[in-house]
């Protein structure tokens, strides 16, 4: 019997029980309350503010907030690009990796500042240790911290009344980095090393038998890559590489760290709006969708590939073998540990992989693709998942309001035409980018030439790439040769749209909500903490996702699934 199901249950239990303490802690950090780390980190924090020339209490309007976030990302873009273009002449490059081509450098820089971490590069053959550390690791921290900062601003937009300020972007960035990501990453990195993940600055090792072993500071990057839902691997094979994800326990803890902060942020939300039930309702909606997706993906991968059954291969799980669909999977994780990772990494906007999604069964591969297409709101990226889900919540109360013919409100704030316009942009822009990008690709011969698998699966490869980039996920059906001018440039545009095309409207909503008065609850108010609302919210998310993407999914994974059983 495969351990897949008991492992899944243990995972859900641990995730939900850790969400409460971590979520409460993050709320204290974002509200500037004292934490147990203050004796160590507070002096550093104050020193930073003094150097920056800012005052903690100084509030920003939504435009200044959005501009600050955009500005630090532009600096990151320039820094990563320059590091990649000059790494040959810089230190910490024992393998003498050459400067990276311009197209790939732009694509990688965009992908890391947008929290996408699309891997058109392959770490061990392309990047110096300095680029990995000072370029990619830094962006892993900053892009994750900006996600939390934007969420904090949106929450303040909901809770503050007749105000203009949404908090200070720099304070939110610095606090998220210092008090949340840095300590968690430090502990996780050391734990991963104890399990066999490497952490050194040595040059590659040559064994007596002639094998070359790639080396490097992998654990420190793997830790933040998981916690920040970044996902860009130190190695080409990402977390399938034994030096980046060694034991089954390291695998389990890494999957836990994908969803830990996104799930806990729901608790943070409830804490900050002073109504815990509101946070639990959002967490419940996310969990229900996650469990459904996980069940489908696990079952599909454990069942194996019907095309191989006929060749006399044994795919039945037993105590002696994992069985199932093992192409592209690591034995120590098996189909269960791989399906759990695939579901979590695409529910969140992580995009890290411990198995090759391209080789998943059609239905097993449909699940990650659809989770991305839902807009990365089933847990989603750190901060970005919850602010995306809050846009859906606004749409849900709006639809509820239409049904009873009353101006809808969410947590005491009236939801009016401006909020609905912005929420629609934030929800639909990534969908449009994904579908239009796919449509253009199938018409451009140079784009079709990158496809590596024939038939419907080739279409799936293209659809997956655009869905991943537009929703800032970063995982891939990696057989698609994406390191071409068409995909490097096109996907970079999609990633920028998917990040800034959502952040700006979300902050505009925050800026509009913060000005409004508090509307007391009335008879016509739709309560937003009840199972009924959870159901409506799930319905809205699934409906938008289904109406937008089912035709495209029918041409790819669904068609492949239907033909697979007739292959001989």
């Amino acid at each position: 019997m495969s351990h897949a199901w008991s492992q899944n249950l243990l995972y859900l239990a641990l995730l939900l029980s850790l969400a409460y303490p971590v979520g409460t802690y993050m709320a204290r950090v974002l509200e500037g309350e004292r934490t147990f780390l203050h004796p160590i980190l507070r002096p550093l924090e104050r020193g930073l503010y003094r150097l920056m020339g800012i005052h903690e209490g100084e509030d920003m309007g939504w435009k200044a907030y959005a501009w600050s976030i955009t500005l630090i990302k532009l600096l990151g873009l320039a820094a990563v690009f320059l590091l990649m273009k000059t790494q040959a002449a810089l230190p910490l490059n024992p393998e003498h990796q050459a400067d990276v081509a311009t197209g790939l450098s732009i694509n990688t820089a965009v992908s890391f500042i947008t929290n996408t971490n699309w891997q058109a590069y392959s770490g061990e053959t392309t990047l110096s240790y300095l680029t990995q550390m000072l370029g990619l690791t830094v962006q892993n921290f900053i892009s994750a911290a900006t996600g939390i900062a934007v969420l904090a601003a949106l929450i303040r937009g909901i809770t503050r009344r007749s105000a203009t300020g949404l908090g200070n972007a720099w304070v939110d960035l610095v606090r998220s980095t210092l008090y949340i990501f840095l300590p968690l990453s430090f502990v996780l990195a050391l734990f991963l090393v104890s399990q066999g993940v490497i952490q050194n600055l040595s040059s590659y090792l040559h064994t007596s038998g002639g094998q070359v072993l790639a080396m490097g500071p992998a654990a420190s990057q793997a830790a933040i890559k998981m916690l920040g839902t970044n996902g860009g691997g130190f190695f080409g094979a990402n977390a399938a590489h034994p030096f980046e994800n060694s034991s089954p326990l390291s695998n389990f803890i890494q999957i836990l760290s994908i969803l830990l902060i996104p799930a806990a942020l729901c608790v943070t939300f409830g804490h900050m709006v002073k109504d815990r039930r509101q946070g639990w309702a959002l967490l419940a909606a996310m969990t229900v969708m996650f469990v459904g997706a996980l069940a489908v993906c696990t079952q599909a991968e454990v069942n194996g590939n019907p095309a191989l059954d006929r060749l006399g291969v044994n795919q039945v799980a037993s105590v002696d073998q994992p069985g199932g669909n093992m192409e592209g999977k690591e034995l120590r994780f098996g189909p269960g540990g791989s399906a759990l990772w695939a579901t979590a990494t695409t529910a969140a906007s992580s995009g890290s992989v411990n198995a090759m999604h391209d080789s998943f069964t059609p239905l097993g591969g449909l699940v990650p693709m659809w989770l991305m297409q839902l807009g990365e709101v089933v847990f989603g990226g750190v901060g970005s998942g919850l602010y995306g889900m809050l846009m859906f919540a606004l749409v849900a109360v709006f639809i509820g309001g239409l049904m009873v013919g009353r101006t809808p409100e969410y947590l005491g704030k009236k939801v009016e035409a401006f909020e609905m316009k912005m929420a629609s942009i934030a929800i639909l822009l990534p969908c449009a980018a994904a579908l239009i990008g796919t449509a253009i690709s199938v018409l451009v011969p140079a784009a079709v030439a990158s496809v590596s698998n024939p038939g419907p699966h080739g279409f799936s490869q293209i659809l997956y790439a655009w869905s991943s980039a537009s929703n800032n996920n970063g995982s891939a059906f990696a057989g698609l040769n994406a390191n071409t001018p068409f995909y490097n440039d096109g996907l970079a545009v999609a990633m920028l749209l998917g990040r800034f095309g959502v952040i700006w409207p979300v902050l505009a909503v925050a800026g509009s909500l913060v000005k409004k008065k508090h509307t007391p609850e009335g008879l016509g108010t739709l309560p937003t903490h009840t199972p009924l609302f959870v159901g409506v919210l799930i319905g809205v998310v699934l409906l938008v996702g289904a109406l937008t993407f089912i035709p495209a999914l029918a041409l790819g994974p669904v068609a492949e699934h239907l033909t697979l059983r007739s292959i001989r």
Binding site: H3, M326, M356
Partner: protein, 197 residues
């Protein structure tokens, strides 16, 4: 509007120094102190020479050795080079791909040819490529499938070989995480220590 240039520049440089230098170098220092073996790659040495890592599989093709899982890694020119520890990756073949069926059929034929006596169906992990191309493990079933061939080629008792497999089988971690597995490199090294009959 305040341009926010100074806070942006200072924040970027300071956070880069903290998260891009102090953090990874700090982790490196502590890891080297607390877990030097793991941090350096869990290397296996014989007579002072590094012969491999317990976490990185190697290409074994002789009948007297246990074979690992197929590997789809390539060299710098894109030519097949199984278990290339400097360029990880999988085949990315789709489940519906004719190439996947062809390559699995070839692997089945090779296994059958190496041991015509083995009649059991072949465990799936022995004919499918791993995601990293560096998988150090095979399933206990895949080891068991090869026991007869290895014993014959080495002139050993099959029972002795199976005993070694059992000794090198690890169960799921903490009883429920991951899968039961056998480390191929360690098993072959242990076999080398056994004198022939």
């Amino acid at each position: 509007m305040n341009l926010q240039l100074r806070p942006a520049l200072v924040a970027f440089i300071a956070l880069s120094a903290i998260t891009g230098l102090a953090y990874p170098l700090g982790v490196t220092g502590l890891a080297q102190a607390a877990f030097p073996h793991q941090a350096g790659g869990s290397l296996i040495r014989r007579d002072g020479q590094v012969i491999g890592s317990e976490w990185i599989g190697q290409s074994f093709t002789a009948p007297r050795d246990f074979w690992g899982r197929p590997s789809a890694t390539v060299d710098a020119q894109g030519r097949p080079l199984p278990y290339n520890g400097a360029n990880s990756g999988g085949s990315n073949l789709a489940p519906s791909s004719p190439d996947l069926r062809k390559v699995v059929q070839d692997r089945i034929a090779a296994l059958r040819a190496a041991d015509p006596d083995a009649a059991n169906p072949i465990p799936v992990d022995l004919v499918t490529a791993s995601g990293s191309g560096l998988d150090p493990h095979i399933s206990p079933a895949s080891a068991s499938y090869q026991a007869h061939r290895v014993a014959k080629a080495r002139g050993l008792d099959e029972a002795k070989v199976r005993e070694l497999i059992a000794a090198h089988t690890e169960g799921p971690q903490l009883g429920m995480l991951g899968e039961a597995r056998v480390n191929v490199l360690k098993l072959n090294l242990a076999l080398d220590e056994v004198p022939a009959k």
